[in-house]
Subunit: 214 residues, 2 copies
Amino acid sequence: MLTVDISLSLDGFVAGPDPSLEEPLGRGGERLHEWALSTEAFRSRHGGSGGAVNVDSDMIDETVRRAGATIMGRRMFSGGAGSWEDDPRANGWWGEEPPFHHPVFVLTHHAREPLVLGETTFTFVTEGIEAALEEALAAAGDKDVAIGGGGSAVQQYLRAALLDELQLHVVPVLLGGGVRLFEGHVAEAPAELQCTRNVASPTGVAHLRYRVVK
Amino acid sequence: MLTVDISLSLDGFVAGPDPSLEEPLGRGGERLHEWALSTEAFRSRHGGSGGAVNVDSDMIDETVRRAGATIMGRRMFSGGAGSWEDDPRANGWWGEEPPFHHPVFVLTHHAREPLVLGETTFTFVTEGIEAALEEALAAAGDKDVAIGGGGSAVQQYLRAALLDELQLHVVPVLLGGGVRLFEGHVAEAPAELQCTRNVASPTGVAHLRYRVVK
């Protein structure tokens, strides 16, 4: 099953306007992830300690447990425009021990050998989103394949009607601009959705889960 | 207090694409209101009977009880482009007994005398959104003023940072185009939001309420 778990602002943005080196997620964009970063589940996963033990933490925990492989866009792997095409040795911004601990497939136009960092192997797929999905499903075994992001990768899978489940974490903030999750996504492939869960959080985040009916 | 209660698609549209006489809410736009129209509260309010007695019905009931006056855009009063400017006697599309039963203020550029239909008086305000709000607050007494819609009226009040509360009914449907609720709304007036309620419904609608912190 192909799933996506993504935080977005109440006005529908997955990143704020005017991304820069200082604010790679755009103005205000970091606020979309504060709820996740403050949880015990996230911190322990990233080698930290402490953090909130609450519904938000349960969400992170569940998402981590269900995913057997991740697909991500090239920018999510290594940041802003061109940074690793310019330097093919670049290892992305995930550090020596990326938090995935399962196979990651990076959508890119530039072929390169797989990269092993800690317990995570990054495979670079140049044959398009369907090829990446096929490889990821095989690697995930009986677990799910998660689209890690960013917005563009999610949009491509939405548009191609390949998503099975969509979990949106709606954060109570208005960004007023940036990257919209839903932008020209269903003109070609209308999808029927079924809301399968709505979890309220003490932090004001609405965790909404939808099944795509094909 | 100025509130808005509005249904929107998961992809953020309050009306679908390509509105026409047959589909004034655009392609698929009627699906945004099915949850409300099927409730006991809505039906009894509109002189009908039957309907679902559930959380959705409670939402409608609460919204109706809290509002002492309504503000609406000209199109919401009388439909598509120009229809009542061309015919100043036009009584809108609300019939002989509109469902409001309280004062309604219509934002318009064309002055006209108040119109009384059943228990509802429509007052036409040409002096702008702040004047309409002032009149409506006075008329509402200790109740709230509700912005009835459409999207453009809500956007104007959002942009002017005049809203106190925002209740979104997120319907599990992707419209893929149409009128966005949030479009260039906070460039001038950033707002801090606080999620004060998240009610899950058996129909899959997420009823999300936010307080605007000024």
